[in-house]
Structure formats: C-alpha cells, structure tokens
C-alpha cells in the first residue's frame, strides 16, 4: 500500500514538473529577487497596484 502511495506521489511530482514546464510556471522565489520569497508555483496575476 505504501509503495503504491509513494509511486502515485512520485508520478504526481513528475507530472507537476511536466505541467510546470509545459505551461511556463515558475516557483515564486525562483527569481532570486522576487518580492514573494516563498516557494510555491503560481500562475497568472497575483493582483496589481
């Protein structure tokens, strides 16, 4: 059971990476000078000023 869960998790991570590459998603702090400063994947606008 744990093995299946791990494989599902692993495939999930891999698919997320593939989707991020396909849709152009970046980790928010990947720009080393981003203002957000926490690692998460986001898309689109975060809001303007």
């Amino acid at each position: 059971m744990l093995k299946k869960l791990y494989l599902i998790f692993g495939i999930g991570v891999m698919l997320t990476y593939g989707a991020a590459a396909w849709f152009g998603w970046e980790l928010a702090n990947s720009g080393k000078n981003s203002r957000i400063g926490v690692p998460f994947i986001y898309t689109g606008f975060r809001g303007g000023k």
């Binding site: 991570v13 970046e26 994947i41």
Partner: protein, 644 residues
C-alpha cells in the same frame, strides 16, 4: 563365472548363483552367506534378516541406465559407526556390468568399479582428509572427500558381487563432485577399490514407477513401544530410521537398535531448553504442499567471546522426502535442506573459507564456531548426544544461508531459506508466534523497493526534463530597450519610466532583466508588467547594487550591475514595462537597460522536483544501511558490513 546350481553348505537347500558376477549368495532358507570360489562353496556365517525400510526398491526390480538393462539381484544393509544404516543394492546389467546402487536418506547413488591407472596409488585411509580433493581418482570431475567412516555389514539378501562377511567392518570414504558426481573408496581391500558414478533419481535408472516425487506418500507408520526406564509409552514415527529417542514421560535418552530400546541417560533440561514453541508431533505444510511432521527438537548453542547463544532446531520428517530442519533463532525461522557438498564452491579453503558460492550466488561468511547440542527431545536418525560438537560455519546471502558442519570424519552442507513468522504460522495453522528481534543473518531486507523501483519517478523526471527543453522551446527576447530615469527631486521620491509595448506569448515563463551603471552604489527598481488591454499588473522588485574596493586581502567586488526576476507565464497579449526607481546618486539621471525574455530554461523547478523525489530513496537507502549494520553486528566477520 557362470550360473551355478548347488546346495547350501549350511542347510543343504538348493541354491543358484544366477549372475556370473555373484561372489556371495545369501541362502533364502537359512540366511547363510555362501561364497563361491575355485575350491567350491564356503559358508561365511549367518547374516541378519534385512530390516524392512520404506525403500521403494526390491530385489528383482528391472531398470535401465544409459541404454543398458539391469536387474536388482542383491541387497546389503550396512551400519554407520555413528548410527544409522543404509542400503546397497547390486544391479546386474545384461551387458555384464555390475552397479552399486546406494540408498541413503531418500537419495540414490549409482556407482561402478573403476580400476586405478597403472602405478597410481590412493592416499591411505588415515591420511585422507575430509574436504580434500583426491586427484589420483581417474574421474573427469574432481571428487572431494565428504565423509570417512567405518561400515558394518549387518544384513544381506540375494546375490552379492563381493566377499560380504557378516558383521565384518570396513573403512570407506565417500566423495562428491559437481553435477551430482559421486564416488566411494572401499578400504576393506588392498589396494583400495574405487567406485565412481553419480547421484541419480529413480526415473534416471528406469524405475520411474518408484520415483520418489511421484509415488504416493505412505502413511507414517508409528511403532508403539515402552520406555525401558519408566515403562511409559512412547512411539516412533520413523521406526526404520530412528537411532535415538527421548521418553516424553521421564526425559530419558534411549538408544534404538533394531526395534529395541536401551536406556542411556536422563536428560536434565533447563528452562531455556524447554522453551520449544512448536510441539513434537505438530504437522506443517511447506512449499509445494509438502507435509512434514516434527519428530525431534534440539537446543544447540555456540559460545563466542564468553557469551553463549542458543537456538532451537526442529527435525521434520516426511515419508517420501525424509528429513528437513526448521531452525528457530531469535524468533527468526529457517527451513533447511541438505546440500551436496560439491555444489558449494568454497572460494578458498573448503574448511572455513571466507566466502562460498552456490548456484552462482556468492555467500559471505557470518559465523565460524563450534556448535554444541545442549538438549534433545523426540526421535533422531543419528546417535545424537548432549554435548555433541561440530564446527559450524554459516555463510549468508539473504534470504539464503549456507551452513557447513564438519567433524574430522564428515562434512555436511545445508541451505536454509528464511521464513517469516506469518509463513510459519500458516504452515502449522497456529497464531501468535513470538515476534523476532534484531535482524537475522539471512533475513531479507524488504524495503529495497524504495531505492530501486522508487527511483522510477526520478528517472521519468529526467526523461521529461530532457524532452521538455525542445518541446517548450528555446529562449527568445521579446523586449530589449534602453530607458533613462531623470534625476530624482529628492532622495526618496521615485522616478518612473515606461518601455515600449511588446508582445507576450502565453504558456511561457518570463524573465525581466535590468542593468544599471551603479558603482559603489545601489538602485532599487519596482518593475510592473502591465497588460495593455486589461490593465492588470504583475510586479517584481529588482534591486541592483554593485560595490568594489581593495583591502589587505586584495581587491573585492559585491553584487552586480545586472539583476533579473523570473515570472510564471501570463496571458498572451501586449504589455508594457513600468519602471519605478530610486537610486543612491539621486541627483544624476539613471540610464537603464531593460530586457524581457520568454522560454527561459532554468533548473529550479527540476531541482526542487528532483530533491523531493530523492527524499524517499535516500531514506530507503539509510534504512538499508541501518538494517545491514544490525545484521552484521552479531557476526564474527562484521568488518564486511559496509560492503552490503
């Protein structure tokens, strides 16, 4: 010699030497061993009647070996000096050959006399060492001495192709080689005779009807007897094999000799000795649905560095397969089967080698110590004694364990297969066996999945990463422009500049780079990416600072004149950069170089995914290292633990 009809010199009954090779005939009427010679018939004395074993062979049975037909014309029962007996059947072939078919513990060995080459002599019986190869023997396969002993001819029937004298003792050595090769040196003759052949199945010799694997398992016959010490009842499950039995009523150790019991001693078990978790008489179903009955149990021990370790061994019996062992140590279990010594290639010296190879698998030495019998219970096919000591060497390659037990006269190999508690519980239909502790020498590590198949997502990630580079496209610049911010009105009020409009495509990441001619100063840029159609804004901060100088260590720099920030993809459309900046030298204008790129190949996403997927395999590997460390901590040879 030819067929001879004569009268028995003892009882005058008519007897017939049918086979030309027959030297001795056992008179079927008075059981005298009658030898024929040039001088006539000679009475060698009475021989005992054959003790009927559970052999599926019988006199008169016809078979075939390598295209030659034979008939079983004689049989002798020989007694081992340490107890136990075996049958030798004499096969008279139609082409004149005489074969010796030995039957012991359910195994069959067919050998033929092999004359020694001219001028070659064998080592004497005393000089022959168990474990040594005997190169003098004219065999294509090297043969190794696996047993030395003294046999006594106790019973015979039919026609015997050599001078069998009742109760005469003879020295012999058994040898074995690869591919089931087998040999015997008979030291009762001078010079000794050599017999070479191989281990065979009954099917190999045209006796398929009696093939052990296919013949119907006979019902275990039980012989009821009385203890000569206390008079209490006891029974033997394998009466034709038993050499020793303990009385369940008074704990006496009894010798079994052709159905007669003799009191030897009373055993005094300790509490540890009594703690057998399986009962004598319990039946278990093992691999291939083979049923075994526990007929005996032994407590054995080894003492290493002053500390004594105990374990229990159960003797299993099946009337077709005969004997196997179930070893219980630290609440771990092993099902143990005998092994042909020649099928184990000891990599160095056969006794106490540091490794051994069997079936192409390499086993590492784990323990080499004298093993002592502490206590026995039940019945045994050898003359077991308290204090019986053998040199026991264990080699492991989980889930298997090779065990070598040797004395000066015998070397035995066995192979144990690790069984879980659940498997033992299922085999015997029991529950709640005590849980094992620590790690058994040959316990398999069950977490290998996490660093073997568990690496599959990592591998797939690599594949996806490689394929996504061309699929996602190469980096392209969508804006490259110089703008200039006018001098600030004061040190805190920012100046603003806009870029020209440019096209952004969807589903592609965006990198905004800005460079400024700062020199030992800084510039703080708030950059907004404005969608010209929806007026939505994505903002990033790009601080630029660059300092340099020199000190006692030499020149140094800090920061850079160009910085960037990367964004996720935005909806496709026309965009403009709005740059709002403050800088240290606010009285002077600030020229900026702006660049916007898409499809930037970066490793951050990959690295994060890679690290996440690496956690479980790395933990699995640490578990494996810890497991192996615990496995080898009790080994006398634990320096090799790190190699696992």
């Amino acid at each position: 010699m030819s067929v001879l009809q004569a009268n028995c010199p003892s009882c005058a009954a008519p007897v017939e030497f049918k086979a030309g090779s027959t030297i001795v005939l056992v008179c079927p009427f008075c059981r005298s061993a009658i030898a024929r010679s040039d001088r006539g018939l000679q009475d060698l004395g009475k021989v005992a009647e054959i003790v009927e074993s559970q052999s599926s062979l019988k006199l008169g049975l016809k078979g075939e070996f390598k295209g030659a037909r034979f008939e079983l014309t004689g049989r002798a029962q020989l007694r081992h000096e340490l107890g136990g007996s075996w049958d030798e059947w004499y096969a008279t072939f139609s082409n004149g050959w005489v074969g010796w078919l030995a039957e012991a513990q359910g195994n069959f060995y067919l050998t033929f006399y092999q004359p020694m080459p001219e001028g070659v002599s064998l080592p004497s019986f005393d000089k022959l060492q168990v474990g040594q190869i005997v190169p003098e023997i004219p065999s294509t396969i090297p043969l190794m001495v696996v047993e030395k002993g003294i046999a006594t001819a106790v019973a015979a029937a039919g026609e015997i192709p050599y001078q069998l004298t009742p109760n005469e003792q003879s020295s012999y050595a058994d040898l074995s080689g690869s591919d089931s090769a087998f040999g015997t040196i008979d030291y009762s003759l001078d010079p000794p005779w050599v017999f070479i052949g191989q281990q065979v199945s009954l099917a190999d010799i045209g006796l398929a009807n009696a093939r052990p694997a296919e013949r119907e398992a006979r019902r275990v016959s039980t012989a009821a007897m009385g203890c000569p010490n206390c008079g209490g009842p006891l029974s033997l499950t394998a009466p034709d094999k038993a050499e020793r039995v303990t009385c369940p009523n008074c704990d006496s150790l009894l010798d079994v000799n052709q159905g007669n019991l003799t009191y030897l001693k009373t055993l005094t078990p300790t509490e540890a000795d009594k703690s057998f978790v399986l009962a004598i008489g319990a039946e278990g179903t093992f691999k291939d649905d083979v049923k075994f009955k526990i007929i005996g149990a032994v407590v054995r021990s080894v003492t290493i560095d002053g500390e004594t370790y105990y374990w229990h061994e159960y003797l299993l019996y099946n009337p077709t397969i005969f004997f196997r062992w179930l070893v219980h140590s630290d609440n771990h279990w092993n099902f143990v089967e005998p092994l042909n010594p020649a099928d184990v290639a000891a990599d160095a010296n056969i006794l106490g080698a540091r490794s051994a190879t069997h079936n192409g698998k390499k086993f590492k030495i784990f323990q080499d110590a004298p093993a002592v019998v502490q206590y026995v219970k039940g019945e045994f096919y050898w003359r077991v004694e308290q204090g019986e000591t053998v040199r026991a060497v264990d080699y492991v390659a989980a889930p298997l364990m090779l065990s070598q037990e040797s004395t000066e006269k015998e070397i035995n190999w066995s192979i144990g297969n690790y069984m879980t508690n659940a498997e033992i519980e299922k085999a015997f239909g029991i529950t709640d066996l005590p849980k094992p502790w620590s790690v058994a020498p040959n316990q398999p590590f069950t977490g290998g999945f996490y660093y073997t198949w568990g690496l599959l997502p990592l591998f797939l990630l690599l594949v996806v990463a490689v394929f996504m580079i061309p699929i996602a496209g190469l980096t392209n610049t969508v804006l490259s422009q110089e703008v200039s911010l006018p001098p600030m009105t004061n040190a805190t009020t920012a100046q603003i500049a806009f870029s020209q409009p440019f096209e952004i495509k969807g589903n592609r990441n965006i990198r905004i780079s800005a460079s400024a001619p700062v020199s030992n100063s800084f510039a703080e840029l708030d950059v907004d990416l404005v969608n010209n159609q929806s007026q939505e804004v994505e903002s990033v901060t790009i601080p630029i600072e660059y300092y340099f100088g020199s000190d006692s260590d030499g020149s140094w720099t800090e920061g850079a004149k160009e910085q960037d920030a990367t964004l996720s993809s935005l909806p496709a459309g026309k965009y403009t950069l709005r740059v709002e900046g403050t800088w240290q030298d606010w009285q002077t204008p600030m020229p900026l170089s702006l660049k916007v790129e898409q499809n930037v190949n970066r490793g951050v996403n990959f690295l994060c995914a890679f690290l996440v997927l690496l956690i479980v395999p790395v933990l699995g590997l640490f578990r494996k290292i810890s497991f192996e460390s615990r496995r080898w901590k009790d080994s006398m040879f634990n320096t090799s633990s790190s190699e696992e």
